[in-house]
Amino acid sequence: MGSLPLTEPVLLILLSLAGQSQHGYAILKDVERMSNGRVVLSTGTLYGALRRLLEDDWIERFKEEESSRGRQAYRLTSQGRRNLQMEIDRMKHLTRLASLRVALKES
């Protein structure tokens, strides 16, 4: 889990937590929204991924203060943010390279 490149569901989970902390259901819905309905995670899959990300110290778990139900929420750790940034840089490089190569072929 803690190795790059990331799988798409894991990348989407991390992106969901990049902006703000979220609880489980919000992550599920955010992942679905971000992928335009292409990636629909089951709850079992989501919590398997969250567990591995917790173990690898990419995210942390805390009790939501403002929630009346006192739900558990998740947020990125500094290590998780750093690794996400690395993955984004890797993807940017790939996209740039792909565009160049395709343009070269067309010309």
Partner: protein, 176 residues
């Protein structure tokens, strides 16, 4: 539906259930409340979540038992057979090479046998089992032996993993 999910959660290791059990049920309940009420949509949701829970439980059982403390991990990977564990690709290449070697040896043996002149006079018939039949007969045994050896090795590693012996290495490491 929730009672079914609750039953399926029993398939998970106790540690995972204690940590995430109630949270998973809350998410499932929220999903059900917010979801489409049509029967087809409900059936799709039920199928997806049931499969997700069963597969998730299997994956968790195959994982290293570790303690999670709010995102803090102090896990030694020394004996960890993680989900990503696969036989090295080189194993397949070596097996292919061995098989190729055996087949070449059989072919060579047959070539030699045909090149030897047969008109050397009457010979008392002696029943000799052909080389290739010995080799082919032995091959399943050969593979069965290595398969069994691999299985035993895996079982030992699995037993180490389940016993938590790798944590002892952590303790001694911390004391230094």
């Amino acid at each position: 539906m929730l009672s079914l999910y609750r039953k399926l959660l029993r398939l998970y290791p106790a540690e995972h259930r204690q940590l995430f059990g109630e949270e998973i049920l809350t998410v499932l309940a929220e999903e059900r409340e917010a979801g489409d009420r049509r029967i087809i949509a409900q059936a799709r949701l039920l199928t997806r979540e049931t499969a997700g829970l069963v597969v998730g439980a299997i994956r968790e059982h195959l994982r290293v038992p570790v303690e999670i403390q709010a995102g803090l991990s102090a896990v030694s990977r020394r004996f960890a057979m993680r989900n990503g564990f696969r036989f090295p690709k080189s194993t397949i290449v070596f097996m292919g090479l061995i098989l190729g070697g055996v087949l070449t040896a059989i072919k060579k043996g047959e070539d030699i046998a045909t090149s030897v002149p047969h008109d050397i006079g009457p010979v008392t018939p002696v029943h000799i089992q052909p080389v290739h039949s010995i080799l082919l007969g032995g091959m399943p045994l050969f593979f069965a032996f290595f398969y069994a050896a691999g299985l035993i090795g895996w079982a030992i590693l699995f037993a180490f993993r389940r016993s938590g012996v790798h944590r002892l290495a952590d303790i001694s490491g911390e004391q230094k």
